[in-house]
């Protein structure tokens, strides 16, 4: 990967539909016009379609569909992202790589991205299907050095950040399912896994991993995954650039972490949750103090715990374990009732 490529791509991206003259590029880079041409030939080999017109210059027509390091760096520069990004063609898991780098003393924050994963994982060692084209695998590493109780809502907050970005910038109908899945029409489009190391009462370091299905071919995925998953592209009005998405998410999530650690996230967290909550006022089933309970989901509290209204008008909060849609007759009937005095507000 050369910095020259990043600079060329940045110029082409900035120009958008306009041409960039070979002369300008050559001057900017301090190389010859032939040198520029040679670099562009190399870029074409990695999947860029660059139009060249005599006396006008070069124009970027198409980007590679894979994650591409110089392009990602060019987008990151355009987004004014400062965080160090470690790029890999393939890894066992971006979370594992981030954890290794933390253990080796790497200064945080930093980001690890990979074009594919051989041992992508979800919660409890569950496998996260990680084909090598069209999906994003990003891990963010932080050293909070603060009381772990303060860090509890971090998955919720960063998940909301991703959800908000996809809705706001790409008009995608994404919702969040407490606490860490993003869904479109009830199918999973992204998963998140946060792993932390605790010293006494402090969170020493923390890795937030994001797996996002962007444009993979569902028809080629294992049936058990394809049945419950979807991709952004299936719902996107226009073609998505995976490199642009990656850069935007890196910028947004590192900024969001900063506001979280400075405790500036709360009003927005509660507001966004209300807007995007997939469980809102639905009957859910959860484990509470060792027992399965059913109740009506009523949003989250400031720590990110799920508020659940039970049939005895009592409200409890759930902060770990699995949550699914409830099935009992009572629960169904209760959910169907209009404003019933159980409203948490």
């Amino acid at each position: 990967m050369s910095q020259t490529d990043v600079t060329i791509l940045q110029s082409l991206l900035t120009a958008k539909d306009d041409f960039v003259s070979g002369n300008d590029l050559a001057q900017q880079l301090g190389i010859s016009r032939v040198g520029v041409w040679a670099r562009l030939e190399k870029l074409r080999e990695s999947g860029f379609v660059v139009e060249a017109v005599r006396h006008r210059g070069y124009r970027l027509m198409e980007e590679p569909r894979r994650l591409n390091e110089p392009l990602l760096l060019a987008y990151l520069a355009s987004a004014e992202s400062q965080v160090p990004v470690f790029f890999h063609e393939t890894l066992d898991s971006t979370n594992s790589e981030a954890e290794r780098r933390l253990a080796n003393g790497q200064t945080a924050p930093f980001v690890v991205v990979s074009g594919s994963q051989t041992r992508g994982r979800g919660r409890l060692g569950r496998r996260w299907y990680s084909p090598d084209e069209g999906n994003l695998y990003i891990s963010f590493a932080f050293r909070p050095e603060t009381n772990h109780a303060r860090m509890q809502a971090i998955t919720i907050w960063l998940g909301l950040t991703v959800c908000h970005y996809l809705r706001e910038v790409h008009q995608l109908p994404v919702q969040i399912k407490w606490p860490n899945d993003l869904i479109i029409n009830n199918r999973k489009v992204a998963g998140m896994l946060t792993e932390a190391r605790i010293d006494a009462d402090r969170t020493r370091d923390l890795v937030f991993g994001l797996g996002l299905n962007v444009s993979g071919k569902l028809s080629e995925w294992p049936l058990e995954v394809a049945e419950i998953a979807t991709t952004l592209s299936e719902h996107a009005p226009s073609v998505l650039s995976i490199n642009n998405l990656a850069a935007d998410l890196i910028k947004r999530c590192t900024d969001a972490y900063q506001s979280f650690i400075e405790s500036r996230h709360l009003p927005q967290m509660l507001e966004l949750w209300q807007q995007y909550d997939a469980f809102d006022q639905r009957v859910i089933r959860a484990e509470y103090r060792g027992k399965m309970i059913e109740g009506v989901a009523g949003g989250i509290d400031e720590r990110g715990a799920l508020k659940v209204n039970l049939d005895n008008e009592q409200q409890i909060t759930v902060n770990s374990g699995e949550v699914t849609i409830g099935t009992s007759a009572w629960a169904q009937q209760r959910a169907a009732e209009p404003a019933n005095g159980l409203d948490p507000k």
């Binding site: 919660r123 409890l124 998955t155 932390a196 605790i198 770990s320």
Partner: protein, 137 residues
């Protein structure tokens, strides 16, 4: 309690925490949080090879407590061996379990040195703040 000036007292023993507090003038609130659900239960042969004796002797020793409310996991994934089992020695830096809260998987360290003599929580079980998870000698 009413005859005394006490407004609140708390007893903690063997994973059972009883907190009694007097609010206002008359009202006495008894809050016995979830611990009842997992007050010392004889452990089924869950902890595989080194199953603790069904009636754990009242041992002197130190305990590793849960630093938070959450779900206890003894291994990184269902099909991998536990982080620690009875008989293992641990030191400050040894990871002994994961406590999950809000889908943050928190790796918990021993923070002390010794030998695990008893595993006090079961895989997948909810745990409370301060609940003993391991006994260490």
């Amino acid at each position: 309690m009413k005859r005394s000036d006490l407004t609140e007292f708390e007893i903690e023993e063997e994973g059972l925490r009883l907190r009694i507090s007097r609010k206002g003038t008359n009202e006495v609130q008894i809050a016995a949080p979830a611990q009842l659900a997992y007050a010392p239960q004889p452990m089924p042969a869950a902890a595989p090879p080194a199953a603790a004796p069904a009636e754990a002797p009242k041992e002197e020793g130190k305990v590793i407590k849960s630093p938070m409310v959450g779900t206890f996991y003894s291994s990184p994934s269902p099909d991998s061996p536990p982080f620690v089992k009875v008989g293992d020695s641990v030191n400050n830096e040894s990871v002994v379990c994961i406590v999950e809260a809000m889908k943050v998987m928190n790796e918990i360290k021993a923070e002390l040195s010794g030998t695990i003599t008893e595993v006090l929580a079961q895989n997948g079980q909810p745990v409370e703040y301060g609940q003993p998870l391991f006994r260490v000698k």
